[in-house]
């Protein structure tokens, strides 16, 4: 079974925010609601790197694990979605999420009513009927049901942000990495997880301090 994933190639991300506005455009998100953000480290100095982050649609999603109303569910393709009717806006998922994906906007209508949580849906909508008006109002468009991938990745300026079936995007990324001759080092987070190829062990403390 296919598993939908995002992967942001830090060697290609130029922090242009195309993914952010593509998301706003596709889902008619009001001011203040950003399901996707571009995060930059070492801003303005050599080593500057950016990645685009949203809900990562975890395989073992912490939000799902902690939700007191069990509003989360996972689709066959591995997309983590939630039911806004069941959400009580407690924010426990916000605690649990390592990426800060859940948001609690105070905006109008579906995006802020009664403090409900809003997050990236991988453009897969919600529990309502695919492509229905109710689904659109609560979650935005359902591109997956139309045979399309998330708008952010489809419109990425440099094809840094990849979305799709995990093996497919990892093939694309592996090919780039091989061409760059940098193996996995180009993947954001690689050095934190595994250290630099020539180094025996990572120095997590130093990395933390560098921020």
């Amino acid at each position: 079974m296919a598993r939908m994933k995002f992967l942001c190639d830090a060697e290609r991300c130029i922090e242009c925010n195309g993914c952010v506005t593509a998301c706003k455009n596709e889902h008619e998100l009001p001011w203040g609601v950003n399901r996707r953000r571009v995060v930059t480290i070492n801003d303005g100095v050599p080593g500057e790197k950016s990645i685009s982050v949203s809900c990562m649609h975890c395989s073992d999603a912490p939000c799902m694990a902690v939700c007191p109303t069990d509003c989360f569910y996972k689709t066959e393709e591995g997309v983590v979605l939630h039911n806004k009717d069941a959400c009580i806006g407690c924010g426990y998922c916000f605690f649990a999420c390592p990426f800060g994906a859940p948001q609690f906007p105070s905006g109008p209508a579906a995006f802020g009513a009664r403090g409900k949580m809003d997050k990236c849906t991988f453009c897969a909508g919600g529990p309502e009927e695919n492509g229905s008006k109710a689904e659109f109002e609560n979650y935005g468009r359902n591109r997956i049901s139309e045979g399309k991938l998330p708008a952010c990745a489809e419109m990425c300026a440099t094809k840094a942000l990849l979305a799709g079936d995990a093996p497919v995007i990892s093939d694309i990324f592996r090919d780039r990495a091989l061409r760059r001759g940098k193996a996995g080092d180009a993947a954001w987070g690689w050095t934190t997880a595994y250290g630099k190829p020539e180094q025996a062990a990572p120095a997590p403390a130093a990395k933390e301090g560098a921020k």
């Binding site: 506005t21 593509a22 009001p30 800060g100 489809e154 419109m155 300026a157 440099t158 094809k159």
Partner: protein
């Protein structure tokens, strides 16, 4: 740390690990989604299971697919919904922001633009967009647009009718014309106009009787156009964004492509993965620099010493392409003399770049060929802009990189149609196609327009004024403010029409508002009120009109991307509110002025939905095709362009050439020059001056435009350096009827062609016969085959030499490398160089920091349009300046706080400090897209109600100083001086 986006006093900086923390709304812009937007039409085309199968199929793509992944599916689906019984249509158009030319599929339902889909088939952007491109659908909302004609009454903008507006403005312009002559008016055209509109604008203002017109190109790449054209023929990007995939090394100097041309990076980053080396030279460590292999920090305004510094090493090490220089370049010895003066110590002293870095970049370019160079405003917007760009051309000539795929000078233009508006639009010194203003040029165009030359002449105040270049947009304010006896026309300017350009992109804002105050009439014709509305309302109580024009999404037309490819945009939606397309507004004024018949002699006029007369765009393009022989805007008929837009998938992403299909052999968008008539089927020219191809395959050579000899030395190319398959394998002059007869080629013309070609040359033969015979029958280039000129003897500095900026932080170097002499009459105005520089030589004691400016990815140009788009505005909510920690601490300024940036002209900008190492100590960077604050005060009250942009801020050009290029009157924006003061 303060990060640029979403930076605001009311926003908390996101904590680590909570990177997506909710962003409190500053301004709730409640917006309803269009009714019925999701009525299932696009939905349900495929169930999820089917989708997964598709996804797997797509994974099987070839090598290219994995690198430039078509990992998305969707183009097939988009095509499926092109026509649907529920009124859903897909309209294909082009992003209206930068010059990359990204295609957009707009999904329109019952007249409402409901969705935007990526166009994976586009060989230019493969579906990709930056923040601006991914947000263009907001143009279908247009909440902050200028909605109807308005008039300033007692200091407030009041709604009026179109009839009243055209009557009152028309009467006033006619009265000024009668009292003071047509040259008392000034017409600012637009690089946001389509080719057809820009072309009609040139015609329209000509028929009003003046050359006082201009557009954004003046202050963007005018120095490139002049400098590059004078070096080798055409003043344009030689290759393409796509062709950079063939580069083995690339130098970006004065270009921040990652922000200004984000989608161009798609091609560059792909090239990098295939081994291309990339260097960035810039005063700032830009986001582009963050992607480079090598970054060198240069002192702003010292490009020539750096380029000569590289050439010093290239010559010293014998890395130059001797055979190429001998065969195709004139005057390199003189350049070498100047270059060898720039020893590494001098280069380091002036530019700040150590020898090792200069050598490293020179070696990178010389040893990884083909190598290319990219430049933008960082090179052009200087008093020595014309020399900067020529130095870059010389570098590429020395390396033998011009006319080579993967090489060339990739000059990225700024606006979606600045290239096209330059080629066929409102230039004060030329007619469409760069025909100049001599009587012969006017007669050529009068023939195309179908009007009497004597009539056009009678519209001008005299033949002298008809042939005299107009004032440039960078200096219109001096046309108002300068003493009458000092200007080279009868009257000072009394009326200015801003037709699609922002005032905050021009320098000397403090003087601009004074000029606005003195005018009898100021008219803005624009989708947005623009900063002109607010700046003028701040200065005066009446005499200002605002007329709503629509955007390119609300009309049809062609636009020329930076790589010279022309793309046809379909109309997405009907004009919003009471707005009208620019050419329709021109026609209404032509009627008022009584020359609508002449204006559209050969152009069909149709009725729009409200019954307005609208010149038909297709017919306008056909007229352009009939006249622009000089630059090959003749083969791109509307039919051919539309065919390309429908068959994008048949074009190769790297070469841009169609393999098979209905466009077989064409290059995408028929990049000009696309010579001859459309019937001749020239494929367009992907890379200029490429001798490895036949001219009918898009090949070419350098242009013979400067005579055949200079000081007894031939300027023609050497034997064996002609384009592939040419009958003349040698240098040869440009073709005319005489040369054709001499060569015995005259009888290759048909009898009909002979009638029109008699007495004409390749530029003026309206039959196209000369071009056909020379190219198709004999494989030669109509403009001849000459050497490129390393020495441009008709310019003030024939060999580029360093001249310190007008406002320099180095008085010692001003002594050594001063500006040239003042000019008494330059584009109708006296212009200061050396006297001003001497006067301000020591001003760096009070203003010790270099002030430079540039783009942000979220905004474009003057920014009024993009700052009115909530999806973009949210990302960049306040004007700021980047300041180095040292300068900030010295001034007592803290990160995120307000500070003042003060300039020698008493300019004062209140903005947020972004304390960052991105700039060096001694340099401050300000983005130039802001307006709507004036010396610390919000100008909201001066905008028409509801039409102010969401984000307003201090304009950098309030404080910019005097300084103009010695050839084109380009304004100096990149190097001036300032100080920072705690607010």
């Amino acid at each position: 740390m303060l990060v640029r986006k979403g930076k605001s006093a009311t926003q908390s900086t996101p904590e680590a690990g909570v990177i997506l923390g909710a962003n409190p709304a500053l301004t709730a812009t409640g917006r309803k989604s269009p009714e019925g937007a999701i009525n299932g039409v696009l939905a349900m085309t495929m169930d999820r299971r089917a989708f997964l199968k598709r996804s797997g199929l797509v994974a099987g793509g070839g090598a290219l697919a994995t690198q430039l992944p078509y990992n998305m599916i969707g183009s097939a689906e988009a095509a499926d919904v092109a026509k649907d019984k529920t009124g859903v249509e897909v309209k294909r158009t082009i992003c209206t922001h930068c010059s990359v030319g990204c295609a957009v599929d707009a999904v329109v339902e019952n007249g409402v633009w409901v969705r935007q889909e990526p166009v994976f088939d586009s060989p230019i952007n493969l579906g990709a967009h930056c923040a601006k491109g991914a947000a263009v659908r907001e143009h279908g909302h247009g909440e902050h647009r200028l909605k109807y004609p308005m008039k300033l009454v007692d200091g407030k903008y009041k709604k009026i009718s179109w009839d009243q507006a055209i009557t009152e403005i028309g009467d006033k312009l006619l009265a000024i014309r009668k009292e003071s002559g047509p040259d008392a008016t000034y017409w600012v055209g637009s690089s946001k106009h389509s080719n057809e509109q820009a072309y009609m604008f040139r015609k329209f203002v000509s028929f009003f009787g003046t050359n006082n017109m201009d557009h954004q190109a003046r202050i963007c790449h005018s120095t490139t156009v002049a400098g590059v054209a004078n070096t080798w023929g055409y003043g344009a990007m030689t290759n393409s964004y796509n062709d950079m995939q063939f580069s083995k090394a690339a130098l970006y100097i004065g270009s921040n492509a990652a922000e200004a041309h984000p989608v161009s990076m798609l091609h560059m980053l792909h090239a990098k993965e295939n081994g291309c080396k990339m260097a960035v030279v810039d005063p700032r460590f830009t986001r582009t620099a963050a992607k480079a292999d090598i970054y060198s920090r240069i002192r702003s305004g010292t490009d020539i010493p750096f380029i000569w510094g590289m050439l010093y090493h290239i010559f010293k090490n014998g890395w130059e392409d001797t055979a190429y220089l001998k065969a195709r370049v004139h005057g390199i010895e003189k350049v070498k003399e100047e270059v060898m003066k720039w020893t590494p110590d001098k280069v380091q002293d002036v530019t700040g770049i150590p020898e090792a870095e200069v050598l490293r970049i020179a070696e990178m370019l010389a040893k990884n060929k083909p190598s290319t160079v990219v430049w933008c405003m960082g090179q052009t917007q200087h008093t020595v802009g014309n020399a900067n760009v020529r130095a870059m051309c010389i570098l590429q000539l020395v390396l033998g990189n011009v006319g080579v795929s993967g090489g060339g000078t990739n000059i990225f233009r700024g606006h979606d149609n600045v290239q096209g508006a330059t080629d066929v639009g409102p230039n004060p010194d030329s007619l469409p196609g760069y025909y100049g203003l001599a009587a012969g040029s006017w007669k050529h165009w009068c023939g195309v327009w179908g009007v009497d030359y004597e009539w056009v002449k009678s519209q001008f105040s005299s033949q002298v004024m008809m042939e005299k270049s107009g004032i440039t947009v960078s200096r219109w304010i001096d046309g108002v403010l300068e003493k009458n006896e000092n200007i080279d026309q009868d009257s000072n300017l009394r009326a200015v029409v801003y037709w699609g350009m922002a005032p905050n992109s021009q320098t000397r804002g403090l003087e601009m508002v004074e000029a606005m105050k003195l005018l009898d009439l100021l008219v803005v014709i624009d989708p947005y009120p623009s900063a002109t509305a607010a700046m003028s309302a701040m200065m005066r109580k009446d005499g200002v009109y605002l007329l709503p024009a629509c955007t390119q999404f609300e009309t049809v037309g062609s636009r020329t991307a930076s790589n010279r490819s022309i793309q046809w945009g379909e109309k997405v939606i009907e004009p919003l509110f009471e707005s009208k397309p620019d050419h329709t507004i021109m026609y209404a004024f032509a009627k008022k002025f009584g020359f609508e018949k002449e204006f559209c002699k050969n152009i069909k006029v149709i009725k729009d939905k409200q019954g307005w007369d609208e010149p038909e765009i297709e017919d306008i393009l056909r007229e352009i095709n009939k006249g622009c022989w000089t630059i090959g805007y003749t083969g791109q008929s509307p039919e051919r362009l539309k065919l390309h837009m429908k068959n994008m998938h048949t074009f190769d992403v790297k070469t841009l050439r169609a393999k098979g299909g209905p466009c077989d052999g064409d290059y995408f968008g028929l990049p000009w020059p696309c010579y001859g008539t459309p019937e001749m089927k020239h494929p367009g020219t992907p890379n200029l001056y490429d001798t490895s191809k036949h001219v009918m395959d898009g090949g070419g050579n350098f242009r013979a435009n400067f005579g055949v000899e200079k000081d007894g030395i031939s300027l023609l190319a050497e034997d064996g350096s002609a384009s592939k398959g040419a009958d003349l394998q040698m240098g040869y002059p440009e073709f005319d009827h005489v040369l054709l007869k001499k060569l015995g080629w005259w009888d290759d013309l048909t009898d009909d062609e002979k009638k029109l070609a008699e007495g004409k040359n390749w530029k003026t033969d309206r039959s196209g016969g000369i071009q056909r015979v020379v190219m198709k029958v004999h494989g030669c280039h109509p403009f001849g085959n000459a050497k490129a000129r390393a020495v441009v003897w008709n310019f003030p500095d024939p060999v580029p030499v360093h001249r310190e900026p007008m406002y320099s932080p180095r008085p010692d170097l001003v002594e050594k490398y001063p500006q040239g002499a003042d000019k008494k009459n330059f584009w109708r105005l006296p212009t200061l160089f050396k006297t001003l520089q001497d006067k301000v030589k020591d001003i760096s004691k009070e203003f010790p920091i270099i002030m430079t400016s540039g783009r942000l990815v979220e905004y474009e140009g003057g920014g009024e349009e993009t700052r009115s788009n909530p999806w973009l505005a949210e990302l960049q909510q306040e004007m700021f300046a980047e300041v180095n920690p040292k300068d900030a601490n010295d001034a007592g300024v803290r990160n995120g706080e307000f500070m003042w940036v003060e300039t020698p002209t008493k300019g004062r900008m209140k903005l947020r400090a972004q304390v960052t190492e991105r700039v060096a100590a001694g340099t401050v960077f300000l983005p130039f897209h802001f307006s709507g604050w004036w010396q610390g005060k919000d100008m909201l009250e001066y905008y028409p109600d509801g039409a102010a942009p969401i984000v307003r801020g201090e304009s950098v050009n309030q404080g910019t100083t005097y300084g103009y290029d010695s050839v084109t009157m380009m304004q100096e924006t990149k190097t001036t001086l300032c100080r920072v003061v705690r607010a």
